[in-house]
Amino acid sequence: REDIEIHNEHLSLIFDTTTGHLKTVTNLKNKLILNVQQAFYWYNSSTGNNQDSTQRSGAYIFRPNGTEPFPIHTKGSVITKVVTGALVQEVHQVFSDWVTQVIRLYDGQLHAELEWTVGPIPFKDSLGKEIITRFDSDMQTDKKFYTDSNGREILERELNHRLTWKLNQTEPVAGNYYPVNSRIFIKDNSRQLTVLTDRSQGGASLKDGSLELMVHRRMFYDDNFGVGEALNETGVFGEGLVARGKHYLMLESPADSSQLHRNLGEQLYMAPAVSFTPNTFSTQDWS
């Protein structure tokens, strides 16, 4: 009945006993605490006839037909299993039969690993869907968030704003999405929440303290920008694609974050190459 908590020597993660969602991230060294609600949602894709005011979503176009995505969750807690051990601890979550996540803490690591698995995206309701993971926190971020444009240059983004021209915002969601090639972060005076990705994704911060990343999409209409077919990859078995990936979450002070997320970003981008050979030698012989 209590909240579930896992920790290593750097981070403590607490999960809500009712929903099973991640609800508190604590940096044990700097005593930084972030109240957060992390969950998965889906935007309903626009349909219509591709005239200006009814532009469809598709391979080229992300244009949800509403500003609030729908939550993906089951009744009761989403947690199905907790694994603890000296090297790695895991919390397994099932948000629905097509969205699952494993949150891991490895001994000695400064970050938490969130491995998401999404798909096949249901299609019987004929609704196109764009699936996001979203972190809603208690940070005062003043409409600002930061994305990298090429793994090196970090750009400050501001909600409903463009640096060099006056924006008339007509797409409150899509108009605030930016490329996230390896990381996105939000910060306030004392804390910075950085999420690194294992691939290029789209992301935004549409509310104060909020940070979201798109992880999967499936639509049933062509957006008339040239591809000539819907973004509806059915995969080998015809049901749709299962996508799996990882996000790496860091909670540090803004001063420490810059160096730490660059280190981790490099380590992820140039990860060790692993190869195997059957080995008949005994340890002594081999050494």
Binding site: L87, Q109, F276, N279, T280, F281
Partner: protein, 190 residues
């Protein structure tokens, strides 16, 4: 012949490949070209490592790569009781505390570091959730987790052996894994 990956990457500079706005059959073609290139690169890496690991006149067996480790599939680690893992670090600084997760079928394993010392490991059950993929499925029952340390621009080789009853007790620092299972919540759609 080792230009294939380079050529595949050159072809994939088209914005369609970068942003996924190509027709489905073109997407498959990009994937096929990249895969062929990646397999060829693995051969290059394998030869490079073999060259470095040669002991006198003894050539080590060719290195094998596993592309589905993220869904707990790796024939080499699943089917062999004794195998070695070579980890190459392309960064210009030492990497410590990088964890490997290897799909296996035994109950416990001894892992020996390059310096001959035993490495602490942890075994975790492969669950439907972690192995949820259709198509070629491995048959691993567990994942062997352990940390590796690799020098800058260098490699480390770890020896893994399936533990017998005697070796298990003698020198196998294995962390306990405790599992708390919850009832799987039933969503109306499940």
């Amino acid at each position: 012949s080792s230009q294939r990956f380079r050529e595949a990457m050159a072809v994939a500079q088209h914005h369609d490949a970068v942003s996924g706005t190509e027709k489905q059959h073109v997407a498959y073609d990009y994937a096929m070209r990249l895969h062929a290139g990646a397999v060829e690169c693995q051969e290059v890496v394998s030869h490079a490592l073999a060259g470095k690991m040669k002991k006198g006149s003894v050539e080590p067996p060719a290195a094998q790569f596993c592309a589905y480790l993220n869904v707990s599939i790796c024939p080499t680690t699943e089917e062999n009781d004794h195998f070695s893992v070579t980890v190459y670090n392309p960064l210009a600084r030492q990497v410590t505390g990088h964890y490997l997760r290897l799909p296996v079928n035994g109950q416990s394993y001894t892992v020996t570091a390059p310096n001959g010392k035993p490495v602490k490991t942890q075994m975790l059950k492969v669950t439907q959730q972690t192995a949820k993929v259709r198509g070629p499925r491995g048959n691993a029952t567990s994942e062997l987790v352990f940390p590796v340390t690799v020098e800058a621009l260098g490699y480390s080789t770890y020896l893994i052996s399936r533990a017998t009853r005697t070796t298990r007790s003698l020198f196998m620092p294995q962390a306990e894994t405790n599992v708390i299972s919850m009832a799987i919540p039933q969503s109306p759609r499940m």
